[in-house]
């Protein structure tokens, strides 16, 4: 049985999201394995250039839905239009990148369609005629094989980095304009401009060495020790989200999907479990040292050097040793 896939594109400020190309790669692969078709749908206003860009991928078509009411993303606008497109085209799978926007509308879209939604997947495999999806559970401590049940369509979102943008198959594809009238009153939310908080005082993106503290440091009193290690190494202090959420360090020290993305020469993770939202912000670091008392912590999947142990026992002698080397 051929599997037909509809991929939902995302764009911001006149640019396609990288997650969209990764979703195209995933959708192409799911369809190709079974001899099915992959198409993309893009929503917006004045998006012909983006539709043309998508049409450079091998797709059975690019559906472009344009409306002034779609100039800005709104959950109600997206769900109304996508539900209509999906009902008409009846794909087996609807594929998306697992972005904040997807988190906002895809569960609602699934509910409107009565469809299952397997979110934040890492990949899939074929079992007979079925696709089984793999996703993290328990904050990355385990992975689960998940089977979609019931009737198609199923919605599937893929975690950032699960598929590679450069594996998108290229060809000349066709763009079709789709007319959909959005009735007045459909859109209940009014979105404002995007903004960043002004109080960004450090640019960790420039730091060559970062020592990052996670919830494992237990209390803000222990930050002193973390700062000493950073000083000894000549680096900056960073943190995982819970440390900033608790107000132990300011938000601009936060590393991860909702904070800064860094790629220093050395990243030292102290008491950080290594949830994917943290990893995406630091996995490009050249050398990663992880200190964690749990040998199964996901951070060890990407660490260069791993130390399974109590950070309070490891860090003080480490500061000493580094000072010695630097002095000598």
């Amino acid at each position: 049985m051929p599997i037909d896939v509809l991929i939902v594109a995302e764009h911001q400020g006149g640019k396609l999201a990288r997650a969209t190309w990764e979703a195209v790669a995933a959708g192409q692969s799911m369809a190709a394995d079974s001899g099915g078709a992959a198409s993309v749908v893009i929503l917006g206003n004045q998006i012909s250039a983006l539709a043309d860009e998508l049409a450079k991928a091998r797709l059975s078509e690019v559906l472009a839905v344009q409306s002034e009411l779609l100039s800005n993303y709104t959950v109600d606008g997206y769900v109304f239009v996508l539900a209509k497109v999906i009902r008409e085209r009846a794909p087996d799978y609807v594929v998306l990148g697992h972005t904040y926007q997807t988190r906002d509308f895809a569960p609602k879209l699934a509910a409107v369609l009565g469809a299952g939604f397997v979110s934040d997947c890492l990949g899939y495999r074929k079992e007979n005629t079925k696709l089984i999806f793999n996703r993290q559970v328990f904050q990355g401590k385990f992975e689960a094989d998940v089977e979609p049940r019931g009737q198609p369509p199923w919605l599937i979102s893929f975690q950032s980095g699960s598929f590679r943008e450069d594996s998108v198959e290229r060809a000349e594809s066709h763009v079709s304009a789709v007319q959909i009238e959005i009735p007045p009153g459909t859109i209940r939310t009014q979105p404002g401009e995007r903004f960043r908080e002004a109080r960004q005082t450090v640019d960790l993106g420039q730091a060559e060495i970062i020592v990052a503290a996670g919830r494992g440091i237990k209390s803000p009193d222990h930050l002193e020790m973390v700062k000493k290690l950073a000083e000894a190494l000549g680096g900056e202090v960073g943190a995982s989200r819970p440390v900033c959420d608790s107000g132990w360090l300011p938000m601009d020290r936060q590393i991860g999907s909702s904070g800064q993305t860094v790629a220093p020469k050395l990243y030292v993770a102290l008491g950080i479990s290594g949830a994917i939202q943290h990893q995406v912000g630091m996995k490009g670091s050249r050398t990663i040292v992880a200190v964690n008392k749990d040998k199964e912590a996901p951070i060890f999947e990407i660490a260069t050097y791993g130390i399974v142990g109590d950070l309070f026992e490891i860090v003080p002698p480490l500061i000493e040793e580094i000072r010695k080397i630097k002095a000598g």
Binding site: G116, D145, G259, I314
Partner: protein, 262 residues
């Protein structure tokens, strides 16, 4: 103003998790449980809205679907200041997916007609990030997700929605509405001794499948976990062993001679 908070009880962060005999979930017998982290923030937000709202008659209702042990989570919420609780407990609720959970929560909450429903953005165990948004659709509510600030302006809400990489956006939406709350939106309170004593007399209503007017088939999962495993490590990690002093010396040496960062 009537505010409903959806709280989920999940295995506590410090628990050592092992797979059950069929490798389809974790073994729940010898671990601790706690309130899902973002849900703690959602509850705090609800309590603050109630406390700062003008007039009287405001109410915070906790809604939890889970087995008997989940009462602990409910008690904690009541001790912190929630007014009453709905505990959805039934053998039929075991192992529900986000859709089934949302369906059951919707059946319980539709009778309450809350002005605002708050949930966490994602559970620490399943991590689907779906239940709140599906619930909004089932209740016919406008919604917004990953919220970091809430302003009540008459019959309207102005909420600060977190976006990727440190970006935000203000969204206006009408009440009644549902918001999914992100960790860090506030500083959650601790329960006081007085609160803990007071919680004992607060109403906690149990609701079964039949009480909700649902049939088991209404909750049929749209996805199912076939099996779970530890992540396969692409293992290039070099583990350093020894006593702390030895480890420190070896790491410092590697940072100097291999990584060349000293």
């Amino acid at each position: 103003m009537k505010i409903a908070v959806c709280l989920k009880q999940v295995p506590s962060r410090d628990s050592y998790l092992r797979l059950n005999s069929t490798s389809t979930w974790v073994q729940e017998t010898d671990i601790g449980f706690e309130v899902n982290e973002p849900d703690v923030y959602a509850l705090e937000e609800a309590l603050r809205l109630k406390e700062t709202a003008e007039g009287t008659g405001h109410e915070v209702i906790v809604c939890t679907l889970g087995p008997a042990r989940a009462q602990q989570a409910i008690k904690e919420a009541l001790a912190k200041g929630a007014d009453r609780a709905l505990h959805l407990e039934d053998a039929a609720f075991e192992g529900l997916d986000s859709f089934g959970t949302a369906r059951a929560l919707a059946a319980a909450l539709s009778k309450e007609t809350p002005d605002l429903v708050v949930t966490g953005l994602q559970s620490d165990d399943l991590g689907c990030g779906q239940t709140g948004v599906i619930l909004a659709e089932l209740l016919g509510l406008a919604h917004s997700t990953i919220i970091m600030e809430i302003k009540l302006e008459g019959q309207k809400l102005k909420v600060k929605r977190e976006l990727e990489a440190g970006w935000f956006q203000w969204i206006e939406l009408p009440l009644p509405a549902l918001l999914t709350i992100q960790s860090g939106i506030n500083k959650p309170r601790y329960a006081t001794l007085k609160g803990i004593m007071g919680a004992k007399s607060k109403p906690m209503r149990k609701l079964s499948l039949a009480d909700l007017g649902l049939a088991a088939s209404d909750l049929n999962p749209k996805q199912r976990i076939l099996s779970m495993n530890l992540p396969i490590r692409k293992a290039k990690t070099e583990f350093l062993e020894g006593n702390p002093k030895e480890i420190a010396a070896r790491l410092a040496d590697k940072l100097k001679n291999e990584a060349r960062v000293l």
